[in-house]
Symmetry: C2
DNA sequence: GAGTGGTCTAGACCACTGT
DNA sequence: CAGTGGTCTAGACCACTCC
């Protein structure tokens, strides 16, 4: 209805959001600094308050800014990403052979490598559940067969914010030979699993990690204290023995803004006298 | 000090969004089926149009529904996730020793395993760029040293939608012994890298994948044709030789709703006579 | 053409942040 | 206290889908 710059046909929200995003990417708006207030945006782009809000919402959904009541939105400061390496799988296996006191010491310390034990509250919950279709297929058992379900969570004692979370399933029949496995008071951290399997004569030989990501639900965003626009990384770890039999399936969530998953793949060397196409080497 | 705002005082948008989300999770709203129209939401929850819109926007941001003009929003149908396995690293290394015609056949076929070559247009772009601080640190060279930058993209010929994308960096000095490496017309797909390295006497022995996720920007959402609420998975692959020298750094993006990354970790066996804590086995 | 969601405006009240 | 963003309402126009 009013003077149209006739520049483009893109919605005004998108134009504003893109303009600001470019300023952020160029460093003209440094992380931590404040964005223009809604009133200023209204004036600069000559639009209504709600359109300015729309632009802010787009940037929030892209994870670029944080906004709260009473103060101007700020360019998000990206937290350091904690590295979780697949080398941990081998470390945990090695640890399983160690005497109990060493397992307790290293195991707990390793559970969350970048935070002191004092600053997290650890809880676990064991239960027995019937196998869903999905798990039955993975384990190669009948649907409905009893699985041992073990859930672990670490939270910040002060803020009650979730720091780590995982749930593990394994066929109960595999571990029923050692009743201690069923008691969550024995080695109540995920790292103790391989030792407990050792007690029933099971050795994990292959670990497969399946990784993907999705947006959190409202409740997930709450318990993890996730800002807008931060995905959850979902990782399913499938452990098998030498015969290829699936022993354990472990599901874990990781907040993408604080997590980097690292996977190390050693390659087999080429045969000693391999072809050297151009005469090199 | 109540970390849960509970439903009592929660904004209407959130209450509506949660109610609908629960219906989706319970299966009362099947994937593909239509949600109530905005007018119906207004009436059922006795709120205004814009509040109903707000609820719809929340569900879109969580990736649960898709909405478009002219028809009611529908529960999102999750596409099948294409599996990209780390076993591919070894396959590519093996392939590098094969004769040229076999490389061409298998290499291209492998580039995108789940789609015929006829249904994707492949393009590559090679250039030489100075090393940023970040890359200089990774490669252990001086900032500003010349890197060979190679970018690959596959798009759908019909829709122009991006199907895959990656960019690779390596110190130019490492490969300058073979000028053919600099020509994008030679083996113009990522899988050919290890063969080209073979021609200059370099053998990759370790691959490290670093994985995280983030929300796409507006343009990224466009080129990938990403619906709202779908994260991008970001994967950096660092390839090193036997001496631990970093040879290549490859960055790739994957749409999280269509991608599952798979990493296989073989474990070293326990020593033959390991302790058997409880006398088993 | 009727119905729908996408965008936009104008204006109101509330919760929270600063001074 | 003033300023700010979060939420909400009422109403308008437009683009698109379906009949």
């Amino acid at each position: 209805m009013e003077p149209r710059p006739t520049a483009v046909r893109a919605p005004i929200q998108l134009r504003i959001a893109d303009d600001i995003r470019i300023q952020i990417e160029r460093g003209e708006l440094a992380p931590g600094s404040s964005l223009p207030t809604l009133a200023e945006i209204c004036e600069q782009w000559s639009c209504s308050m709600n359109s300015a809000r729309g632009a802010i919402n787009i940037l929030k959904a892209q994870g670029l800014i944080t906004a709260g009541r009473g103060k101007a939105p700020t360019v998000r400061i990206q937290p350091r990403r904690v590295i979780r390496s697949s080398e941990r799988h081998q470390l945990e296996k090695d640890l399983a052979l160690k005497p109990e006191e060493e397992r307790a010491r290293l195991g707990e310390a390793e559970t969350n490598m970048n935070m002191s034990i004092d600053h997290q509250r650890f809880s676990s919950h064991y239960s027995q559940v019937p196998a869903t279709e999905e798990f039955a297929t993975i384990f190669g058992v009948e649907p409905g067969e009893t699985l041992l379900r073990r859930e672990w969570e670490a939270t910040d004692p002060k803020t009650h914010v979730r720091l780590s979370w995982s749930v593990s399933h394994m066929p109960l029949a595999l571990v029923s030979g050692n009743p201690a496995v069923l008691d969550e008071r024995n080695e109540p951290w995920p790292g103790g699993t391989l030792h407990q399997l050792l007690t029933v004569g099971i050795e994990i030989m292959t670990v497969v990690d399946e990784v993907t990501a999705r947006m959190p639900t409202t409740v997930e965003a709450q318990v993890w204290d996730l800002p807008d626009g931060v995905p959850l990384i979902f990782c399913r770890r499938i452990s098998s023995d030498a015969a290829g039999r699936v022993i354990e399936v472990s599901d874990a969530d990781y907040p993408a803004d604080r997590t980097q998953l690292k996977f190390v793949t050693p390659l087999k060397p080429w045969p000693e006298h391999h072809p050297t196409p151009m005469g090199h080497n």
